[in-house]
Symmetry: C2
Subunit: 268 residues, 2 copies
């Protein structure tokens, strides 16, 4: 168990000692990633096809990973393919950013989502299982505290290395960064210090959700509205990156969008 | 060669004798699909990641399959994973369609693209290589005839079995079908008979591109415009299915969209 966490943490370029809690990773039986043909061994359902359908926004509104794909998703997330898939997106985004002629007036911005985009909650899911979902948590009222909120408040989420690499690339090109997250205003300080601690040292704006303003609204509505306000202030959204289609659909989506993989949960 | 074509044709539920032309499938060296971890054996590029990035609209505007992924794409398209991936989309679409309360006034329509959606051009690509692209052909003027046009005019494209299954399901639910394709008006008769010959026996509309109206316009523009006209006529687009994001993005996209896999070519 400690070994698995260590392997995972080493994998995301952060070496630390794992803490040991009995039986909390029962979903993960093998250390060897089965990200390739893993789905094929599952009768009746191809987990690879399920994942592709999720990533292409064909399967929507799902609340849990299909039980028979929990292991597959765990192996994917902790294995090499997730990193390779993320790298392909970051690389493409960087090529795109390099190709732009920027105005140089400080109004060219890149929007990053936070969870599973700039920060990774994989340590949390490795402990609590990849079949769980934070869907309801994100939609819930701010005082409906949960295990996931506790994890967020620890401020211990590692960076997604590929996104951190892209972040530094964008800054070096003179592009400003805006974080736009479904995390709540009450989580601002923890989120800001978490971001800084793992290498996101500067940003133009860190936009968190005001529950009073967006209670009961979807992420698509909230994020579209915030992006519209940014554009009204004269910002040009040259890129927009997230792990959920709700980060990338709606209005004012930006010149180009980049979808990072996330077969763990769905936010509408 | 004849064996491979036969295997392929058997795979798509149509058994016929392949014709043999020397050396035309040099891109395909193995009969065994390498759709699983195929990308892993290619240094410097994960073809699985490339394919995912293409399917999620991260990598756009590409004109050819990367050379090192040609084989991978060939094996994917002729192997089981393409079929499984298509089945997952058709199945999800069918569950969605079943869940709807239809008005029963004949105005509920489902839009299908044609190439790589209802009809498959895999026999053409199996002959001419999976690295080629029809991007330019689709954008070209109608008189710029090509090998692909010749193939289309043969009217011999098999059905994508999963889409044909969905098509029959939709009809049984009382949903009308509209085909909206980038194929040109001059290809109407061939296209209509090809559709009928492989099982698409009825439809409400078959919309082909009028070159005089859409010359130099993108597929997104053309298809958005045609969908808008349908909605103005009182049709409700309850579902919209295609293999290209240009089938599914833009305006009047329908209540829900379904993206079928296509790592062979990109149409903007």
């Amino acid at each position: 168990m400690a070994l698995l966490l260590l392997l995972f943490l080493a994998n995301i370029l952060t070496i630390s000692e794992g803490t040991c809690e009995a039986g909390i990773i029962k979903q993960i039986h093998l250390l060897r990633p089965r990200s390739g043909a893993g789905g094929d061994s599952i009768p009746g359902l191809s987990c690879m096809s399920w994942r592709l359908a999720v990533e292409t926004n064909n399967i929507i509104g799902w609340k849990t990973v299909p039980e028979e794909c929990e292991e597959y998703v765990g192996h994917y997330m902790l294995g090499k393919q997730y990193r390779k898939d993320s790298r392909a997106v970051a690389k493409e985004a960087s090529l795109y950013a390099q190709s732009l002629k920027l105005a140089g007036d400080g109004k060219d911005i890149w929007i990053f989502d936070i969870d599973e985009t700039t920060l990774s909650n994989s340590p949390y899911y490795a402990q609590h299982g990849f079949g769980l979902t934070i869907y309801e948590i994100f939609r819930a009222e701010p005082y409906n505290a949960t295990l996931f909120d506790e994890w967020v408040m620890e401020g211990a989420a590692p960076a997604l290395p590929e996104s951190l690499w892209l972040y530094n690339k964008l800054l070096s090109l003179g592009i400003k960064v805006v974080f736009l997250t479904g995390r709540q205003e009450s989580q601002r300080n923890t989120t800001a210090s978490n971001l800084k601690n793992v290498g996101y040292h500067t940003w133009d704006k860190l936009i968190l959700k005001e529950p009073s303003k967006y209670s009961g609204k979807t992420a698509v509505f909230y994020k579209s509205n915030e992006r519209e306000m940014l554009e009204k202030k004269g910002y040009r959204i040259i890129g927009n990156m997230g792990d959920q289609w709700s980060d990338l659909l709606g209005t004012n989506t930006g010149n180009r969008t980049f979808k990072l993989p996330d077969p763990m949960y769905y936010i509408s």
